[in-house]
Symmetry: C2
Subunit: 304 residues, 2 copies
């Protein structure tokens, strides 16, 4: 007979634009169980968040109230409850979670606020929790965190504070151009060519303004010279990441850099930065999200 699941002490939730992930957490912050669904913010109206969460975690709930701590787009204006941005400079770990109204008496729902910057105007939601997780595990870290992804973030960290940051639409442009533009005919959905990636990166680093022309050349090279679609994919990535690295140069040049994200992507960025003489550390993204949610829980439980 399968033993009944121990009721969790609390539930950690990572709720983004396209995904909902939840961890049942034990008394020692050990993971008892994991569940996920496609009920990301983009699929939900505001009144659909609570039912979506209950669908996913109802079997973890006891008769009393269970504390739930969530990060990500669930706290945006289009989310469950708006958790207003904190302004930089600020500590990575917020103590001020926002309480969301719940119809179900078993839920005690708290949302971690995002972080904003007035000038240049910029925002993050979800990444602040990964950053807090990294700092919880590396309390002496002073330097720059890079979180590559749909909207890559470069974040200057000093004395456990987020000092400033900048977002680049690199991942979203890679997807849009690779699957939505005329280049889709020339670009493989998977596959890689590391020398082509590094060469393309170096091209935009030295001549960033040429990118719109180099992009079209990917199409022309395929029409005229049967360029390998995997090479085209690596070149597209290299052109766009080279652009990001050109702009983010003050963040990585001569700095202590750590990458946080999915393994394949951080590996790609690490190879690029290594080529440029940096020596980045790497941390896995979802582990940092969990660590940040645990850190929020501990901050909340700590005596004032």
């Amino acid at each position: 007979m399968i033993p009944a699941l121990e009721k969790p002490e609390w539930i950690a939730v990572d709720w983004g634009t396209t995904h909902l992930r939840a961890w049942a957490m034990g008394r020692a912050n050990e993971v008892l169980d994991f569940a996920n669904s496609d009920d990301g913010m983009s699929n939900l109206t505001p009144d659909a968040f609570e039912p979506a969460l209950i669908r996913l975690v109802s079997h973890w709930l006891g008769t009393g109230k269970t504390l739930i701590i969530a990060c990500g787009m669930v706290g945006s204006r289009q989310g469950w409850a708006e958790a207003p941005y904190r302004a930089v400079p600020c500590v990575a770990q917020s103590g001020n979670l926002i309480r969301a109204l719940c119809g179900d008496p078993r839920l005690d729902m708290r949302i971690i606020p995002g972080v904003k910057q007035a000038s240049p105007a910029d925002v993050m939601r979800g990444e602040e929790t990964q950053i807090a997780g990294y700092i919880a595990q590396n309390p002496d870290f002073d330097g720059v965190l890079c979180l590559p992804g749909t909207h890559s973030k470069w974040v200057h960290i000093s004395a456990k504070e987020i000092v400033s940051f900048r977002t680049f639409m690199t991942g979203e442009m890679f997807d849009l151009i690779g699957t939505g533009s005329v280049l889709r005919h020339s670009i493989a959905p998977a596959g890689w060519d590391q020398p082509a990636f590094l060469e393309a990166m170096s091209e935009t680093l030295s001549r960033p303004e040429q990118i719109a022309a180099r992009l079209f050349s990917l199409r022309a090279e395929s029409l005229l010279n049967d360029q390998d679609p995997a090479t085209a994919r690596a070149r597209l990535s290299g052109l766009l990441i080279g652009m990001e690295l050109a702009a983010a140069k003050p963040y990585w040049l001569g700095q202590s850099v750590a990458l946080i994200g999915a393994a394949t992507l951080t590996q790609t960025y690490a190879s690029a930065l290594t080529e440029l003489g940096a020596a980045p550390r790497v941390a896995e993204g979802s582990a940092m999200t969990q660590a940040g949610l645990i850190s929020a829980y501990e901050t909340m439980k700590a005596p004032l």
Copy 2:
């Protein structure tokens, strides 16, 4: 009683990715009639081209053969019949049209070939006809033609020849980012802000590598400062056109420049180039397509 349409001497066709336009042409190359449909290349399999043309122009056809001259993607590998690219440097007006196989004996179908460049790899299909039209009307033009659009072309013309050219994915990126990315929530489908356009253009001209960050700032400015969506639209256009103008600088700086395209778009480019000290001439795009098709017809009919 409506008089029957005079049967055309020949039919001019502009057949692109998303459109099919046809003009019934008289003996003095006057336009007798016009017809168009959405049967662009992207909606057609190779065997669907002939039926699509007949649907559009059958009422113009007589009992004998009618000559049809077409330019554009109809001559691509995915088109009706592949019209192999001519290589630069080459005269703008090709005398070598490609004959397409027709099942209907009333059709004598000819396709104008595109133009290619080996290095940097680049291609055009359709624009060569607008270029030929411009040169037919301005035979002494020496300088640079800019054809803004989905894939903007900058073309160096000397002694009626296309010497070199470069394509920029500016228009396609504007559409993809404005309607497919997270910025769609912050960008109006129409509307304009000329000072914001010029300021954004100047920002990427001086710091092109910052574009991916400036793009995301359009989203953040809207979230944090309620930026006007029409201003955001003009800024997006300015950032992308600024990028193109930074890369195309050798084409326009100190050169005689003429713009060919749709009125709104050429006006936007003209205002940008004027701000930068250039004094571009402007020609309407579909008029140049017609002029180029007429020039192809006359070249074909001329005694050898």
